[in-house]
């Protein structure tokens, strides 16, 4: 007996909105969260713009204790804790340090690296011969599973508590890992999501690869241009998205509000073969991932109303569209609506899949398609494949039943999840 899996809670910390209400409003309006950062300029970055959520010191204390915040220097863990705790409360659960241990609830909360600023701080001290003075929290802030360890303790989770990591696929993969665990009856509830640090030490490697845009340091809000003819590389972002997945039975038993259903999905790899490399996707594997996700969800490719793409604003956007047209066998007017949240928040790396999934689920719940900004000059290769009407530039209120979200990452890894409106 396979459980149906629904979404009963959402949380988000995004560059253009912190908290579900602010984020939902921002994505409908097409608000950009991309700003200029003097620190990047001082460090001689080519790309000096990025997306960093705005969080006050006061806000932090709503999520972490003064003790947890002592010597705390891990933006990703902060974002993950905020989104995760918000999602948990949104699902109707309380957060209490003395709560009873819940063996039916767990978390798969991904990250790319953890606490890169804390790691830097520790390395400086260590190299000065001061290893004894690192303090007690370097390990928990810099271990890859730092975020799931923090959340597991804050929420008192007694099922699986782990962190997955698969580059820019991480967030979408986490959703599918939690989904599988509930579907197979091993857990009733899984908090799933991902987070990513901000700042130069996480973004520097990408700047060195020249994959981030250097043309918009004076026009940050126009910098992230997925599907545009003038796309010139991605804009780095950061933050976290979180979803509470729950068996339909558990959700109905406790009369929880349901955002949407996770119908299924698929995760695979192109093996860095047949055109796939460490940094470029094997198109056959991408298409197969989408096709398998559709079949695993027991729907037909024609049932998909909207796609939330990976679409980073690099030269690979046209190839991604081509892969969708081939996998779905739909093109032109018959192609679903497609959008890229990255136009507003940049590429939030390990957090991208979860933040973008939160946006996709909000679309289904509230019946809208959020606008793509910065693609007024749609790339010719894209307009040759799909109708421009499918790439909305203003919010569109329309009936949506099924949406697909895909993420692709370094290492030639892919994940595609299918969400359905729940009524």
């Amino acid at each position: 007996m396979k459980n149906r899996v629904v979404i009963t809670g959402l949380g988000v910390v995004a560059p253009n909105g912190v908290g579900i209400d602010a984020f939902s409003e921002a994505i409908k309006k097409g608000d950009s969260g991309i700003t200029f950062h003097q620190q990047l300029a001082d460090l001689k970055f080519s790309c000096c713009i990025g997306g960093i959520p705005k969080i006050s010191e006061e806000q932090k204390l709503n999520y972490l204790t003064p003790l947890q915040l002592r010597g705390f220097n891990s933006s990703g863990i902060l974002y993950g804790c905020m989104a995760g705790i918000d999602a948990w409360k949104d699902a109707g659960f309380t957060v209490d340090p003395n709560s009873e241990l819940d063996f039916d609830s767990g978390t798969v909360f991904g990250s790319g690296t953890s606490g890169v600023e804390k790691f830097r701080e520790a390395i400086y001290k260590l190299d000065e011969g001061d290893v004894k003075r690192l303090g007690s929290t370097v390990v928990v802030q810099t271990m890859a599973s730092g975020i799931s360890a923090f959340l597991g303790g804050i929420l008192g989770l007694g099922n699986q508590v782990t962190t997955n990591s698969s580059a820019c696929t991480t967030g979408t993969e986490a959703i599918l890992m939690g989904y599988e665990r509930i579907k197979s009856g091993q857990a009733k509830r899984m908090l799933v999501g991902s987070c990513s640090d901000d700042g130069p030490y996480i973004w520097g490697g990408f700047d060195a690869m020249r994959v981030m845009t250097y043309k918009h340091n004076n026009s940050p809000e126009q910098g992230s241009r997925p599907m545009s003819a003038t796309a010139s590389g991605f804009v780095p972002g950061s933050g976290s998205g979180a979803l509470v997945l729950e068996s339909l039975e558990s959700a109905l038993n406790r009369n929880a509000a349901i955002y949407a259903e996770v119908l299924g999905g698929h995760i695979n790899s192109g093996g860095q073969r047949e055109g796939g490399t460490m940094t470029a996707p094997n198109s056959d594997a991408v298409q197969r991932c989408i096709i398998q996700a559709v079949s695993n969800s027991n729907i037909s490719t024609n049932d998909i109303d909207a796609i939330n793409g990976h679409l980073t604003a690099t030269s690979k956007d046209s190839l991604e569209i081509e892969n969708w047209t081939k996998a779905l066998n739909r093109k032109g007017e018959n192609f679903p609506y497609i959008n890229s949240l990255k136009s507003m928040v940049g590429h939030c790396l390990a957090a991208s899949g979860s933040i973008e999934s939160v946006a996709t689920v909000l679309q289904l719940k509230e019946q809208f398609i959020f606008p793509n900004i910065n693609c007024e000059d749609l790339h010719d290769e894209i307009s040759e494949m799909i109708s421009e009407e499918k790439i909305v530039k203003e919010v569109l209120h329309t009936e949506l039943n099924i949406a697909a979200k895909a993420s692709f990452g370094f290492g030639d890894v892919n994940a595609c999840v299918i969400f359905k409106r729940y009524i």
């Binding site: 003790l67 003075r133 303090g135 007690s136």
Partner: protein
């Protein structure tokens, strides 16, 4: 520095780490960091770092192991201050 002054300084140092308010309010020479104040054992190293900073001293591993109560901390701080 008087005994009372030293206890007051130590009290300020341990405050962020304590998990038993009542034991903290009644803090005396006999108070144990872990058993009474319920300080997480991992945080003892942070208490020691803060003591080092406050008194500008360095506490070695052997002394560190002993430093589990207010009394032990006072002895070690006094000893290190005398060596200065």
């Amino acid at each position: 520095m008087t005994k009372e002054e030293l206890i007051a300084k130590l009290k300020t140092i341990v405050q962020p780490y304590i998990q038993d308010e009542q034991a903290f309010e009644n803090l005396s020479e006999d108070t144990d960091f872990i058993n009474d104040l319920k300080i997480n054992s991992a945080n003892l190293v942070d208490v020691i770092l803060d003591v080092e900073d406050e008194f500008d001293i360095r506490i070695e591993n052997d002394d560190m192991e002993k430093m589990t109560s207010v009394k032990a901390a006072m002895d070690i701080v006094n000893e290190k201050l005398a060596e200065k």
